[in-house]
């Protein structure tokens, strides 16, 4: 995704952008957590796509270790732009959900 689109997508509060302010607070938070969970899964799938089996194991071990920063640095050395991918996934998800909500208008 183009960086400016990502930045634009990241600026708003997703709950408000979807027009869900009137939901009960616990539902808002649960929704946020669910969406975050999905983004995390998608993100990790993308990371996995870029890694060979051995590398996947190595990365998994780093993630499970005490110094998580090492895991991200490790990705960085393999030219896997984790942080950029994370933002992309968030932006993409926001866009998908906006479109979805818009179907009801």
């Amino acid at each position: 995704m183009e960086r400016s689109l990502i930045q634009k997508a990241l600026k708003g509060n997703i709950i408000e952008e979807l027009g869900l302010e009137s939901l009960p607070e616990e539902q808002k938070i649960e929704l946020l957590a669910s969406i975050s969970e999905l983004i995390g899964l998608r993100l990790m799938s993308r990371v996995a796509e870029r890694l060979a089996d051995k590398e996947a194991e190595e990365f998994a071990q780093l993630l499970e270790g005490d110094d998580v920063d090492k895991a991200f640095s490790w990705l960085h050395t393999r030219k896997i732009p984790f942080e950029e991918m994370a933002l992309e996934e968030v932006a993409r998800m926001k866009e998908e959900l906006r479109r979805r909500a818009n179907n009801f208008r």
Binding site: I29, I39, E83
Partner: protein, 896 residues
């Protein structure tokens, strides 16, 4: 699909009555009534022979035929083979859902990582109960129903001794039928839920529209009872819509999760994917689990450092976008910063329960003034709405008008600060940051620094502190170092910045770590600014933007030696930079059509190239002197003080440029600058330079290209005669606005822009030059142009006017009488527009638009009550067209 073996069947058949009883009890407990009729009575163990089950898959359901009966399975759990081969692992009691680090002696390679459990979502705010089903309870009925359905499937899987029960499961047909019936019953409950929410939405919409229709003459708005009814109906409508939309989103999210899981566990590289997912689960949860013993606050604080919480923070809105591509460390810090937004969101949520009490007592405006001033923009906006609601409940504004105006004044002031800082002060900039920004503004006022200084120091400081926290910087004992870094990276620090950082001292923060963080983020801010990008202000052309870019480069890069550049060199540079950029833009070049609000970016490569060329060509003092002399007619026209670089975002919020017209001088095309310099110093700029020859003769008409104007300032000093932007050569002397002629075409957008900008405000220069163009009759005739014009004239953010005029699928066009209501459009983002990226600035524009119309209405009431009553029947767009647009068009081009 695997079936049961013969011996297993026998064993299973023997236990079937008990097992079915247990299942019946569990499902009945959950209110699944059909099961009571379906499950066979105890003792009936003889499996009835039944035909094989066939299934048909449709886009949204799976239908299978079992004997004479049809069963329908909806949604996607069929795609969720999580339990394939791992049914026991997924039993709740087998392992804790959230792996508890605090009780774990994990050393890599000795203790296996937690088993994968990606089922459902983890609610960050629900205390995990070590595998209890309670931890999975959802506040969304539809999620709960789906979970129950999946739980039932698991039960049935165990009962049937299958790997995963689905339509392909073979075995005892009677039992399978029973199992299908159970799932079918749950499917029905899901359908019922969807049906109910849809029906509620339809009813709520009908009620809302009916109430609107009752008020044919617009008189009922004055009736408090009616107003209350309408507000309630609107609230019901909003709630119903939110319930439907949320259910749909939840459904999508869960279906997508199932798809991801399917890819992970069924794809060709399931081992690698599964391993990473396992580790991710561990990583995403461990901080949450670590905080479990420390109480809610500690848990929340710790969870701020988990990836998932970081994502939540970004979803909640992140004002300071993290450093894309600037390294994993920065990303992690930025995600943690994002989590702060999430944290404050939660904190605010808790505070929200006490809001009602705070709405009382607004009649005592003086007492409330102090607290109002310390509220965040969002809270102030809420207060405004609360006062409106209060007035509506009372049926009048007595005692509230003054409060409302004060609150609104505070709101607008805050927005002005936010806009000046170039920040989006929406929900994402939470209490802490906003409060600090207020402090900055207050301290800056005290130190009587110039506005530019405030802007410089505050925006940098807020940007950095937005990620790390203000107190941390103060307490880490690196305040002065921070200032010093600001100085080296962004120019001279100001007293305001020092005041902001405050005294050093304090404990609890590791200075080295913070020093590293501050350094990283400053570098990151630099890294994420790969281009020099600027917004066109009124009166500006692309050369103005190039001039800003050159000024910024000189201000930021001591190594370029820019401080010593002469004005002639700077002019040469900006011209060359624009020429390179223009070529690069290619078909996207909008020469002559730049509008205020457009953006133009110059990349670093073009800057470097222009700089290199300039330094090559003008090496000696003589050559520079010669260049200066040749370009003097142009450089003297420029208001150079406007282009003194004062830090990142220096020209944000700038009001644009105006020009003093020197009537004795004549217009000349832009190419003269380079031509002139070439002829004046032929040995310095050899003839035949490619870029010179390639400059189009019909270059964008920009004030600084002309001999006849000189740039004065964005805010004209008293006594100076300011004129509108100068016309192209064909325009008559004294030109003040767009010129229209026959036989030429213009887009509605450009025409509307031109008319909207004149005669009271200058038209954008490039556009003015191209307005040889618009037949006035066409403007009067064309509905599209009139609409676009109205849209521009309204000053509303893009799309807002369209929504007001045309509504949406479910919301009718806005009527004038809607303006008297407390509808969400004027104050809240997200409804009805929803999908737009809007902010408080948009709200302010809407308020001003509304005020303009209400003011006109009051004027009508004074002049002619009859016309006032008639105007109440119009939609807002009709009203605006009648009382604003027509008036404006007539002012520009009087009817013949």
């Amino acid at each position: 699909m695997e079936g049961t073996t013969s011996s297993q069947e026998k064993e299973w058949a023997g236990e079937m009555p008990d097992r079915l009883d247990a299942l019946q009890a569990r499902l009945t407990q959950k209110g699944i009534a059909p099961m009571q009729e379906i499950i066979r009575p105890k003792g009936d163990t003889e499996p009835a022979p039944t035909p094989r089950i066939d299934s048909v898959t449709t886009p949204d359901a799976k239908i299978f035929v079992h004997g004479q009966e049809r069963y329908r399975h909806t949604s996607a759990p069929e795609l969720a083979p999580i339990a394939r081969g791992a049914g026991d692992v997924l039993a709740e009691d087998a392992l804790p859902r959230v792996h508890d680090v605090s009780q774990d002696n994990t050393q890599h390679g000795t203790v296996p990582p937690p088993a994968i459990d990606l089922r459902g979502t983890v609610d960050l705010n629900v205390e995990s109960k070590g595998g209890s089903r309670e931890a999975l309870k959802s506040s969304f009925p539809i999620v709960q129903l789906r979970r129950e359905r999946e739980e039932a499937r698991e039960e049935l899987t165990k009962l049937l001794n299958a790997q995963r029960f689905d339509e392909r499961t073979e075995g005892d047909q009677s039992a399978i039928k029973t199992a299908h019936e159970a799932l079918y019953a749950l499917d029905e409950r899901l359908s019922d839920r969807e049906k109910n929410t849809q029906e509620e939405l339809a009813q709520a919409q009908e009620e809302y529209e009916r109430l609107h229709e009752e008020d044919v003459y617009g008189e009922m708005a004055l009736d408090p009872a009616y107003g209350e009814k309408l507000t309630k109906a609107q609230q019901r409508f909003e709630n119903a819509w939110a319930a439907v939309a949320a259910d749909d989103i939840v459904k999508k999210v869960h279906d997508d999760m199932d798809l991801v899981r399917f890819n992970v566990y069924e794809g060709p590289r399931k081992n690698a994917y599964g391993r990473i997912m396992q580790a991710y689960k561990w990583f995403a949860d461990k901080n949450l689990a670590r905080g479990r013993e420390g109480g809610r606050l500690k848990k929340m604080a710790l969870s701020m450092f988990s990836l998932r919480a970081g994502i939540s923070g970004i979803l909640g809105g992140l004002a300071f976008v993290p450093a894309v591509g600037a390294g994993a460390l920065i990303a992690r810090q930025a995600l943690a910063g994002a989590s702060a937004a999430y944290y404050t969101y939660e904190r605010k949520r808790q505070a929200a329960t006490n809001k009602v009490a705070e709405t009382k007592g607004f009649e005592n405006t003086e007492k409330k003034d102090i607290s109002i001033d310390t509220l965040t923009p969002t809270e102030v906006a809420e207060k405004m709405q609360e006062i409106i609601a209060h007035a509506q409940m009372k049926g009048n504004w007595e005692g509230l008008e003054a409060s409302y105006q004060k609150v609104r004044a505070v709101y607008e002031k805050q927005m002005a600060v936010a806009i000046a800082l170039g920040q989006y002060l929406d929900e994402s900039v939470r209490i802490d940051v906003v409060a600090e920004m207020h402090n900055i503004a207050r301290q800056a006022r005290k130190t009587e620094q110039s506005n530019a200084d405030v802007r410089q120091s505050a925006s940098i400081a807020a940007g950095v502190a937005g990620v790390f926290g203000f107190n941390a910087i103060r307490q880490a004992g690196v305040a002065h170092e921070f200032i010093s870094k600001l100085k080296s990276l962004f120019g001279a620090p100001t007293a305001a910045a020092e005041a902001f950082v405050g005294p050093e001292g304090g404990a609890g923060v590791n200075p080295d770590a913070l020093r590293e963080q501050v350094s990283s983020v400053l570098k990151a801010r630099e890294a994420i600014r790969p281009t020099y990008a600027y917004e066109f202000a009124p009166g500006e052309g692309p050369l103005h933007q190039a001039r800003k870019a050159i000024a910024q480069m000189i201000g930021e890069r001591a190594d370029a030696g820019g401080e010593n550049f002469s004005k002639g060199q700077r002019l040469w540079l900006e011209r060359r930079l624009w020429e390179l950029t223009e070529k690069e833009l290619g078909p996207n070049n909008m020469t002559g059509e730049w509008h205020p609000g457009n953006h133009l970016a110059f990349n670093r490569e073009a800057m470097e190239r222009a700089l290199g060329e300039m330094q090559d060509k003008f090496k000696t003092p003589e050559s520079i002197k010669s260049l200066d002399k040749s370009l003097e007619p142009f450089t003297k026209k420029i208001n150079w003080s406007r282009y003194e670089y004062k830090g990142y975002g220096a020209w944000q919020g700038d009001g644009g440029v105006r020009y003093g017209l020197e009537q004795s001088e004549t217009y000349e095309p832009s190419t003269q600058i380079l031509e002139s310099s070439r002829s004046a110093s032929p040995d310095v700029i050899p003839g035949g330079m490619a870029f010179t020859e390639s400059l189009p003769l019909s270059q964008t008409i920009s004030p600084d290209d002309t001999m006849g104007v000189h740039e004065i300032s964005s805010a004209p000093p008293g006594g100076t005669q300011i004129v509108e932007p100068p016309p192209p050569p064909s325009m008559p002397e004294g030109y003040r606005g767009p010129i229209f002629s026959e036989h030429t075409a213009l887009s509605p957008d450009a025409a509307a822009d031109a008319v909207a900008q004149s005669p009271t405000t200058p038209a954008p220069m490039g556009l003015t030059a191209r307005l040889e163009i618009m037949p006035m009759d066409e403007l009067r005739r064309s509905e599209a142009i009139r609409f676009t014009f109205a849209q521009k004239l309204s000053g509303l953010a893009e799309g807002d006017y369209d929504l007001i005029a045309h509504g949406t699928k479910i919301i009718p066009p806005m009527r004038v009488l809607d303006l008297d209501n407390t509808g969400g459009f004027w104050s809240r983002r997200g409804w009805p527009e929803g999908v737009r990226f809007d902010n408080h600035r948009d709200i302010m524009r809407r308020l001003r638009f509304r005020d303009a119309i209400l003011s006109k209405r009051h004027e009508l009431l004074r002049k002619s009550p009859l016309e006032w009553a008639e105007s109440g029947k119009l939609t807002v767009a009709e009203f605006y067209e009648k009382y604003f647009v027509t008036e404006k068009i007539l002012a520009v081009a009087p009817a013949k």
